[in-house]
């Protein structure tokens, strides 16, 4: 998802009997559906895994602004431009809510930025793909935000209070994102034949990468098992991917567009759509830094941070100068 393949402790989930009394009391609170709050005791692995997961989620929101920002100056109408600007501003907001949630776990904002810039932390693979046409902005809202919603809605019930609360705010706003994307797709799909072709082309290019957002099957992953026991991951990757396909296939049909998967068809027996796995070799290549836009995206982030250094320093210097006056 926006956080993919987050590593947990790497060992099998302990049973209640194998836990120390402190760990056991913690797990029993999680099992009972209680929220864990920042200053309360938590296992070290829980804290570290959450920092990785929330941090990666935050980085995804921030880097996710770049492919869409690409089209702010080229949006086809003033209204579309204002809407896209508002959407990209929301993504910045989502990143900030999440960074705040991560910071309650004892990591600083600058540490998180540094880890991203040095490649020690990741952001979602999806943002390493280019947005080549205006229809891509529609596909991103419809498919990428649609996939994100699948994961973010259940995370509103996750065990860590600040993360769950950030998700509540994000989910409220995310629905606008997906609908504005679908609105663009409807306009394109019902437009001229050339516009419809653009919409189909965008769907062709974003379908596989959207399915990859959920990550490879984690049925046998010890990391996922631990995260699910801690209720910081609420569903398996395959389960969410299936849910996404089931919701999206009829929407594509409504648009009169074809999902680029010859094996996609309704399976009445399962009550789900059958679909083909995306190209996992490509996914791992993108994670390794070899996607179409990895260097450009991270480069833009680092440049923005470096170029903004004098502003941050100036603000701090100004605040320091004014502080004694304010105290008088």
């Amino acid at each position: 998802m926006y956080a993919q393949m987050v590593k947990s402790t790497g060992s099998a989930v302990k049973s209640l009997d194998e836990m120390t009394p402190q760990e056991r009391a913690f797990q029993e609170r999680v099992d009972a559906g209680e929220r864990i709050e920042p200053k309360e005791w938590m296992p070290d692995g829980y804290r570290k895994t959450l920092i990785r997961q929330i941090g990666q989620h935050a980085h995804s929101e921030i880097v996710g602004q770049l492919p869409e920002g690409n089209w702010i100056t080229r949006a086809p109408t003033l209204e579309r431009k204002a809407i896209l600007l508002a959407k990209v501003q929301d993504e910045a907001g989502h990143g900030l809510y999440l960074y705040c949630a991560a910071e309650t776990l004892g990591v600083s904002r600058d540490e998180l930025f540094e880890a991203l810039h040095e490649g020690r932390m990741k952001y979602s693979s999806i943002f390493n793909y280019p947005t080549l046409t205006w229809a891509d902005i529609g596909a991103v809202g419809w498919l990428v935000d649609g996939a994100a919603i699948m994961n973010q809605v259940p995370l509103q019930r996750c065990s860590y209070g600040p993360y769950a609360r950030a998700m509540v705010r994000i989910c409220k706003e995310e629905s606008f994102h997906q609908r504005q994307g679908f609105d663009i797709m409807m306009k394109m799909a019902n437009g001229t034949p050339e516009q419809k072709d653009m919409a189909q082309d965008a769907l062709n290019r974003f379908w596989g990468p959207s399915l990859m957002m959920f990550g490879p099957s984690d049925e046998h992953s010890v990391h996922s098992a631990q995260s699910m026991a801690w209720k910081i991951k609420m569903n398996g990757n395959d389960e969410l991917r299936q849910k996404f396909v089931d919701l999206t296939a009829p929407q594509a049909e409504f648009l009169g567009l074809t999902i680029p998967d010859p094996d996609l068809k309704w399976n009445a027996e399962r009550g789900h759509y059958d679909y083909s796995e995306p190209d996992w070799d490509e996914f791992f290549e993108v994670l390794r830094g070899n996607g179409p836009c990895n260097k450009e995206r991270l480069g833009a982030r680092v440049k923005a941070w470096d170029d903004g250094a004098w502003v941050r320093e100036g603000l701090m210097a100004n605040a320091a100068k004014r502080r004694p006056i304010a105290a008088e």
Binding site: R109, D110, L315
Partner: protein, 94 residues
């Protein structure tokens, strides 16, 4: 990291005359910038009519371990709730 921009807690009063409520935190060099940032981060959809910002390190909080001593004593004082008292229906609304 030695000169990291400080953290502020943000409180917003919504439309309906309720108390300011904690909504999250953000970084800002000073209070003025914190209020402007809070406007952008926490009120993009008309969520508020007033903003308070407080440096995070100025907040004193009760310790999680004090939960028992602080809050348990009120558990056994159920007579503080109106539903503790059985008033006959004949009395009418009370």
């Amino acid at each position: 990291m030695k000169n990291e921009i400080p953290l502020w807690e943000v409180f917003i009063r919504g439309q309906h005359g309720l108390n300011h409520r904690h909504v999250g935190s953000l970084h800002a060099a000073d209070a003025q910038q914190a209020i402007l940032n809070a406007r952008d981060v926490y009120t993009r959809r008309n969520e508020g009519v007033s903003i308070w910002v407080v440096p995070s390190n100025a907040i004193s909080a009760s310790a999680p371990s004090d939960k028992g001593p602080l809050f348990e004593p009120s558990n056994d004082k159920i007579y503080r709730h109106p539903t503790f008292y059985d008033i006959p229906d004949d009395v009418g609304t009370m």
